[in-house]
Amino acid sequence: MKGQVHTGRPSKLLRNLSSKIASIPMVLTAVVIFLGGTVWTVVYSFTNSKLLPRANFVGLDQYERLWDAPRWIMSIQNLAIYGVLTLIFSLVMGFLLAALMDQKIRFENTFRTIFLYPFALSFIVTGLVWQWILNPEFGVQSVVRSLGWETFAFDPLYNSDIVIYGVLIAGLWQGTGLVMCLLLAGLRGIDEDIWKASRVDGIPMWKTYLFIIIPMMRPVFITTLVIIASGIVKVYDLVVAQTSGGPGISSEVPAKYVYDYMFQAQNLGQGFAASTMMLVTVAIIIVPWAYLEFGGRKRV
């Protein structure tokens, strides 16, 4: 074996040279930034770096401090509430809309254009619009009150108990159209004969959806789920624009914690530890999916 390598043609490295040169950006990005950067951040999360990264290792100190910080706990709680509700609502609403759109309706393009346009807008724009609509002095609350319901109260952005639901409303408005589009594509992939068969058997439509179509769309649902979930972990700009994490710390999210500690509090170690926890969260979502999607294929 060894001999073979040594006697191999000397031009081996030079073969396909243009392709290798052209791939340098990809290789650098993959190895230096994605792999190297991630490893670097994880390693430095075990140091007590403050203003500048310093290789002074302190074990799990940063993580202990992280999980003792009320602000981090609040961030994680918010992410959990926001995440679970976003998953449920965007999947349910997205599927309902997709199912309605799949009834061979007229004006399908118009409806799709309307449902999807918020997705073209940035989270900053989304956050600011909903900040204005939910403004208690001028927005929905004041409009309902002026209609005669004087005690009506709906001011999620100024009430620390429900502020995350205010963010949720904006997030759902922005993202449900995408879910609808992905699921609609999945519905279109279902064989028309399935529908004919279930009609012949006299199965009601909702039952067909629930017990036949949805199980058949499992792969589409899983892909959609992964897409929504990896977007949720990154949620940052929406909160910055809509609430700036307030009132107090009641709408903080992990991504904002990372940014604030890295670039404002100048406590890099905390930022690295928090971002490593974000990485762990994503891994918990992605690894089982990757396993099912690519590892489990042999069983089928």
Partner: protein
């Protein structure tokens, strides 16, 4: 539904026309059936809900402040004014700077155009190399790239800051363009690799036999044949980069802040009286570019996000 009806009616209709009888009478399908009312009613309600924020933005931006303080946010403007638009564009303040959103707009233009072009050029060549000139180990790098698309940006930001600082371009537009190129790479490379793989291989082989090399095949065969996918990639990148906030705020100095960052600073600044009409005009101005791209591109946008949804 309708094609099934046609199938049933078809033969009878054919027989009827042969006999010289034209079809007449009302359409057999009832338009106002209960099912249709439910269906279109629900869809219309949902559509109204989706349109509401856009509507509120537009009407608020055309009202004067006294009218906003008195009226409700859903009522159309009594007196239409474009002053808030002018102010948002030319004289809204962020901190001590009072030259409006126009600065952010031009920064965003100067960021978006080179970032879009460079990221697409780099990624399409990568995709082409992966599809047609695969070298040993290429798949390993590609896998890392795709897995990397799922890693939260926050994990990789600081190492990039260090690299850019070492190169002396931290805080400049060049640095930000590089960052956009890096983070656009996974999804774009995937897009181009899949597209180039789907092209008939005979074309590539024929060009090889005729003696064309790597770049010649790319520029003279692949590129002209793949214009639709380049348009999809452009839509994806223009909207994505224009809407970016995090990279803009991390990798540039305040004088280079893109529009989204400046917009957020204008609206969420704590100083001074809040001018909601100016804020909404500014928000609309920032959202206008991706919205125009969206409405003009139509189906291609859907194709782009179906491919690019992974970017999240």
């Amino acid at each position: 539904m309708s094609d099934r009806v046609v199938l049933k009616v078809g033969p009878a209709l054919a027989a009827a026309t042969k006999a010289g009888i034209e079809p007449y009478g009302a359409k057999p399908r009832r338009v106002l059936s209960g099912r249709n009312i439910m269906l279109y009613g629900t869809l219309t309600l949902a559509a109204l809900y989706y349109l509401l924020p856009l509507y509120v933005m537009v009407v608020t931006s055309m009202k004067g402040m006294p009218e906003i303080r008195l009226g409700n946010i859903f009522s159309p403007p009594l007196e239409v004014t474009f002053e808030p638009w002018a102010k948002a564009w030319a004289s809204a303040c962020t901190g001590l700077n009072c030259d409006g959103l126009s600065r952010g707009f031009w920064n965003s233009v100067r960021i978006t155009i080179p970032s879009t072009l460079i990221s697409i050029l780099v990624a399409s060549v990568n995709g082409y190399a992966l599809a047609n000139w695969k070298f040993k180990g290429a798949d390993v790098f590609f896998t890392i790239l795709i897995v990397g698309a799922f890693i939260p940006y926050q994990v990789m930001i600081y190492p990039i800051v260090i690299v850019l600082r070492e190169m002396g371009i931290y805080g400049t537009l060049t640095g930000l363009v590089i960052v956009h190129t890096i983070f656009g790479m996974p999804i774009l490379t995937l897009l181009f690799r899949n597209y180039f793989s789907s092209l008939p291989e005979e074309l590539f082989k024929a060009a090889r036999i005729d003696g064309a090399g790597f770049w010649q095949i790319y520029f003279r065969i692949m590129l002209p044949m793949s214009l639709p996918i380049f348009v999809v990639a452009m839509i994806l990148q223009i909207t994505g980069i224009w809407n970016d906030f995090l990279f803009g705020v991390v990798f540039t100095r305040p004088e280079y802040y893109p529009m989204t960052v400046q917009l957020n600073n204008i609206v969420n600044s704590v100083q001074g009286v809040k001018e909601y009409n100016v804020n909404m005009a500014a928000t609309l101005l920032t959202g206008a570019v991706p919205l125009i791209v969206y409405f003009v591109s139509g189906r291609l946008f859907v194709r782009g996000i179906a491919a690019g949804a992974v970017k999240g």
